[in-house]
Amino acid sequence: MDFLNALVTLLNFVIIPATAYGAQLALGALGVTLIYGILRFSNFAHGDTMAFGAMVTILVTWFLQGAGVSLGPLPTALLALPVGIAATGLLLIGTDRAVYRFYRAQKAKPVIYVIASLGVMFIMNGIVRFIIGVDDQRFADGERFIISARTFREMTGLEEGLAFRTSQGITIVVAIIAVALLFWFLNRTRTGKSMRAFSDNEDLALLSGINPERVVLYTWLIVAALATTAGVLYGLDKSFKPFTYFQLLLPIFASAIVGGLGNPLGAILGGFVIAFSEITVTYAFRRVVSYLAPESWQPDGLLQLLSTDYKFAVSFAILLIVLLFRPTGIMKGKSI
């Protein structure tokens, strides 16, 4: 019984949250990695793209909720998601027309795109705050939990609870589906292969009859889908606040780099590495150990390696060590 309690504690406070957070990061990192792989630059506007997509979805969700539409146990936002994706797609394509296309025609160096994306980031940031404001917005409805801590305790009679949220479940499932789809698309379909070819050698792609503008279009559309989905899922799970989406950028980039920039599988792995290292290294194991250890051995300290103050620093330190032994990231980077 005590062993079960220990296990449940670990699951509840470490494994489930880390998995869900990892999946969230992974979805974001997937978008970053795709742009890096195909359009060749790090898009600093990605966090704000996610915010924009989530914002549109929220507005539509409110409308739907107002009209009494619902998905039963699932959040209504899922119904609004396609609209969000479409709007974000339009925004991204518009941005591409207004900003990036010019540099593509000029064959600008990648660093120019990066700095341009900073400019785009500022602007999107402004737009989102303009439309929906700066406050926290909540739009989750339906069942919040697949299983809540209280229900679990009642069901099992264990001392410890185990909570698993609907949003966490959806995030994990969606992340798996997204990466599988993306992988299949890039490696098996004609369009996907042509995108990889374009990413590899633009001019030669022209000589093979590949239309670059189409590749760019597809890329932005996929990115829009990924970013909106990531943004909405994050918002469902936590809450929507423009500022946080900007802050997400750092862990997302860390995930993408650790996994190997440009590699979709790497992005997924990277997300989990970051999430797990953030959560495990600073976890206080007292509660877990107190179930396992005999009465007289009860720990009086927290059994915490480092205080949570350092969780971000620690996860970075771990990355540095990982990279020392695997300098190209976990998966070899840049091979979309």
């Binding site: 341009a116 402004g126 705050r129 404001g133 103050d309 620093a313 970075f316 540095l320």
Partner: protein
């Protein structure tokens, strides 16, 4: 510099002078002083990126280390803190360092194998616990010395200007560690290593209260220039001010700012002189060659790794120096204000907009972008007022727009950035 570029400097100068006339000279000088510091930071980043193509996204960390130096050098030592636990804290740190050194020595001495792994692990684990035991106890004692006002070790009580080179040294030390491990590897690694180190530096600054009070902030740093209130109380100064027809309060605030500006200008000019001389020497030629083609440069006998390390350390030291200067100017160390957007990305924008690879470009970018960063706020508000001028007084849209005016800051910044980039893609003063 070509005439066109001199003209650009004149234009940016005009922005500041215009600020002086339209807003106030105090405002203009405040922005100008931070502009000087920004220009120095931009110089540092430009050394790394413009000369050598090294991508440092941890500028914030080096700047913060400079800030730490200002506290450690200039604050008076805290009475009793050293006696209470200061020595023990230092002892703890020495023990920690000894553990790592010991592990490295053993690693070198012993044959590879499982035995070595076990011994290293034992050393590290034992060392960690001894370190924590000694160190934590010391820290607790230091931090309990009057926590509301001090609760830290204090500094050396030396003149604050000394902290500028010390800030450079601290940053250089950190850069040496990162460079040693990161520069030989793929350059992604440098990006994440610098990103990580910056976060780690900030985390330490925030959480190690014994060092510089953590988030409780150190305020009231000694200044290299007189206090305004002292000037206002000084009869000779007041007479002097009235002699030129100024009121003593604004005369004193402006005088103090000018004094800072003087100090900073000396530093900036010295750095520009050094960088220009270096860039136009065989050393500069070698750096350009390395940046052009690393493989070929190393086949031509240049030690690429060592050179990268050198320039990385130098650039970081300059950022550290600027950080110490900034903290001196602020008169306080506030770890919470160190944000990547402000201290890493904004500096990058300065370098790229100014013109990477060109020292004058970086300096120009520093002044211009900083001026914008401050002034887009009122500009944005003005813009909003302009847009809403024609709307009905009570329209909800008008209210919403005016309330959102604060967000115009980022929007305007983005717009300006994109415009500069579009019409002057290699920066305002491109590399020759």
């Amino acid at each position: 510099m070509q005439p066109k570029h001199v003209l650009l400097f004149v234009l940016v100068g005009a922005l500041f002078i215009g600020t002086g006339f339209v807003q106030s000279w105090n405002t203009a000088l405040t922005i100008f002083n931070m502009g000087l510091v920004s220009a120095i930071m931009a110089l540092g980043v430009n050394m790394q990126w413009g000369y050598a193509g090294l991508f440092n996204v941890g500028v914030m960390g080096f700047v913060a280390l400079g800030g730490l130096a200002a506290v450690l050098v200039s604050m008076p030592p805290v009475e009793g803190a050293w006696a209470a636990g200061g020595v023990q804290v230092l002892l703890g740190l020495v023990l920690g360092a000894a553990t790592i050194v010991g592990a490295i020595l053993v690693w070198g001495r012993m044959r590879p194998g499982r035995m070595r792994g076990i011994v290293i692990l034992i050393i590290l684990v034992a060392g960690f616990f001894i370190f924590r035991a000694v160190f934590d106890a010391g820290v607790a004692r230091v931090e309990s010395v009057d926590p509301a006002l001090t609760g830290y070790l204090g500094g050396l009580g030396l003149p604050v200007v000394l902290s500028w080179p010390v800030g450079g040294l601290l940053a250089a030390g950190a850069a040496w560690i990162i460079g040693k491990t990161a520069l030989g590897l793929r350059s992604d690694y440098l990006a994440i290593a610098t990103l990580g180190i910056a976060e780690i530096v900030i985390a330490v600054l925030k959480n190690e209260d014994w060092l510089a009070r953590g988030v409780k902030n150190v305020t009231g740093l000694p200044r290299p220039v007189p206090f305004e209130v002292d000037l206002q109380a000084n009869e000779r100064f007041v007479e002097l001010a009235q002699g030129i027809g100024a009121d003593p309060v604004s005369a004193s605030t402006i005088a103090v700012k000018l004094a800072y500006a003087g100090l900073f200008i000396v530093v900036l000019l010295a750095l520009i002189w050094l960088s220009e001389k270096a860039l136009n020497s065989p050393w500069g030629r070698m750096m350009r060659a390395i940046r052009d083609n690393e493989i070929s440069a190393s086949a031509m006998g240049k030690n690429v790794k060592a050179r990268h390390l050198q320039i990385f350390i130098l650039g970081s030291a300059v950022c550290g120096l600027a950080g110490a200067m900034m903290t001196t100017l602020d008169g306080q160390l506030v770890p919470g204000t160190y944000q990547p957007l402000r201290f890493t990305f904004l500096i990058w924008v300065m370098v790229i907009v100014g013109g990477s690879g060109n020292n004058w470009g970086a300096v120009l970018g520093g002044f211009l972008v900083w001026w914008l960063w401050i002034q887009v706020e009122p500009i944005g508000l003005m813009l909003m007022q302009g847009i809403t001028a024609g709307m009905a007084e009570d329209s909800a849209l008008r209210d919403h727009l005016l309330d959102s005016a604060a967000h115009m800051r980022l929007l305007t910044m983005g717009l300006i950035l994109l415009l500069v980039l579009r019409f002057s893609p290699r920066g305002l003063i491109p590399e020759r």
